[in-house]
Symmetry: C2
Subunit: 157 residues, 2 copies
Amino acid sequence: MRGRGRGAWWQERFQNAGARITAPREVVLDILHETEEHMSAADVYVKAHAINPSIGLTTVYRTLDMLTQMGIVQKFDFGDGKARFELVNNPGGKKHHHHLICLKCKAIIDYTEFIDEEVEFIEKTQRKLSKKYDFTITDHAISFFGQCAKCREGVSF
Amino acid sequence: MRGRGRGAWWQERFQNAGARITAPREVVLDILHETEEHMSAADVYVKAHAINPSIGLTTVYRTLDMLTQMGIVQKFDFGDGKARFELVNNPGGKKHHHHLICLKCKAIIDYTEFIDEEVEFIEKTQRKLSKKYDFTITDHAISFFGQCAKCREGVSF
DNA sequence: GTCGTTATTGATAACGATTTTCATTTTCAA
DNA sequence: TTGAAAATGAAAATCGTTATCAATAACGAC
């Protein structure tokens, strides 16, 4: 059943945090594991509800928020009014990536290229910031903004 | 009065884009120029309305959106449900910076350190992405997420 | 300067994502 | 097994943002 039992990695984290392991939480995590998309809370809810109709939207929100605070999930805003969520270190899932965002049509392009150079830069910066601001850094995001080819033509600005 | 007449730089950009130069737009731009904060639309509205009570909230939203699409303003989401806006190249204003965001208390720390190393990395990446995806890149954002010292103590997760 | 076209504006209503409330249910340690 | 505390879900409430539409203002042509 939906991977119950395997990836107990997050169960440990929950227990260490004093959080309980519940059916809705298992379902949400399973869904995130099996997805390649940037899912909104509503997207997750639809899938969760299909699996177990007793799961409510509120709980999905609460779970996603909790996972975000735990650093298990990363929350994004692409400017379309709804937050998107992705598992942070999805083993065997989506590769580490960043975003290219069109300011006109709000299209999102994921890119995974050039990560090698990034890693070095990020690690160095992270180390310095972490020390200087006494901050525990668990994740980062890099976004580039501009106009996609399509929008550049239909110009107005 | 509020810098009217100087910084005509944006007025030219408006004209080239076929956009009209109006009182509300001037006010919004002046406000952004004079601010060091990350302002929400409501923040801008309050100031704008104080300066000229006839300016409506709707127009503030429209103006900020327009400026964002023009690349004059950058829009951020720090996870507290409201968008924040900052002038991109504020001459004599705030230096180029990025953000350190506490996932627990949502505190934002601006950092300007280590930018030299960043510039090199960003330029290289930008050049490559731009070519590969046929995308005109006008801006970027780097954010680090984690927990601030204060939140690390009151732990729960 | 006047005029007319057309973009812009602002009040209000509508919208929709997220959060709050609170009574009920579930988890899990004792 | 049991009970305290955490978690849940349905519904209502919140609140940031957007759409509507009649009134207004900008600015090029004259």
